[in-house]
């Protein structure tokens, strides 16, 4: 019984970890590759072209 509970908890926390990693990853990529705000676009410009993000 105790083992079962521990297993369920472990699986749940891993699911959370995957979703957290995906969310933070997408947030970082939005900033570095997608956001069109002028300041961001200009600073990231060369990197966006070099990494083939669809740029301006």
């Amino acid at each position: 019984m105790t083992t079962q509970t521990a297993n369920i908890t472990a699986v749940r926390s891993n699911g959370f970890a995957f979703i957290m990693a995906l969310t933070v990853g997408v947030a970082l990529l939005t900033v570095s590759g997608m956001a069109q705000a002028t300041v961001l676009h200009d600073a990231a410009h060369d990197q966006r072209h070099a990494m083939a993000f669809p740029c301006h």
Binding site: A21, V24, A52
Partner: protein, 229 residues
């Protein structure tokens, strides 16, 4: 687990981002700066005098250190972002299928990431030299994201699917965004020599492949290490 995913992605993103930035400064940024000469009109190809001949040669990196530091910083951000997606995918596959994650097979994960995120979208939307007019940004971004999701999903079906049917379905899903087609203008507007645009495409793809292979290797390396601690 969350800490392991995060730290693996941050360390791997830093290493891959710095290596990718270094390669870009040697091979990609000079072409980009050369393209800007045509974008601004400092050089003219297909001139009105009917002689489509222009000098070859990049202007050099110049003294714009602020600009280049930004390129390094954003490479690290981008590779860390992709590293987080890779780490989540590796961790999920390990949990669901019992797959062993090692630095060596991390290389394959990285190259699969390259195919999904760089190569497949570039088939429809070739990497653009500055000064290349293109269709509206939003539909291109939507197609770009859809082609990445479709290619990643298709590759996962091929890698983890248990039957031939699933493998064929994977291939069809990979082809779907290409069959639908990326948004393009009805006319050609490019101002730079075609050779320069072609070189920019091959260089940016080639060095992104090295960046992604490095990223896959190190995300897996740190993920595996984090599990044994």
């Amino acid at each position: 687990m969350a800490k392991n995913l995060l730290s693996s992605a941050v360390f791997a993103g830093l290493i891959a981002g710095l290596i990718a930035a270094l390669l870009q400064f040697v091979f990609v940024i000079p072409l980009l700066l050369e393209g800007e000469l045509y974008e601004t009109g400092a050089r003219v190809h297909f001139g009105a005098d009917g002689t489509p001949v222009s000098e070859r040669g990049a202007p050099g990196l110049g003294g714009e250190w602020g600009r280049h530091m930004m390129t390094v910083a954003f490479n690290v951000v981008t590779y860390t972002g992709y590293g987080l997606l890779l780490a989540a995918a590796m961790g999920f596959a390990r949990e669901r299928t019992g797959l062993l994650i090692t630095a060596k097979n991390g290389l394959i994960w990285g190259l699969a990431g390259f195919i999904a995120v760089q190569l497949a979208p570039a088939v429809g939307l070739p990497p653009e030299l500055p000064g290349t007019p293109a269709a509206e940004i939003t539909p291109r971004q939507i197609w770009w994201i859809c082609s990445i999701l479709a290619t990643a999903g298709g590759l996962a079906l091929i890698a983890f699917g248990q039957s031939l049917l699933m493998h064929v379905a994977g291939l069809l899903i990979i082809l779907a965004p290409q069959l639908i087609g990326a948004p393009h203008l009805d006319t050609f507007w490019g101002v730079s020599p075609p050779e320069l645009s072609a070189e920019f495409v091959t260089h940016s793809l080639g060095y992104a492949a090295i960046g992604w292979a490095t990223l896959g290797y190190f995300v897996a390396f740190f993920l595996a290490r984090g599990e044994t601690d």
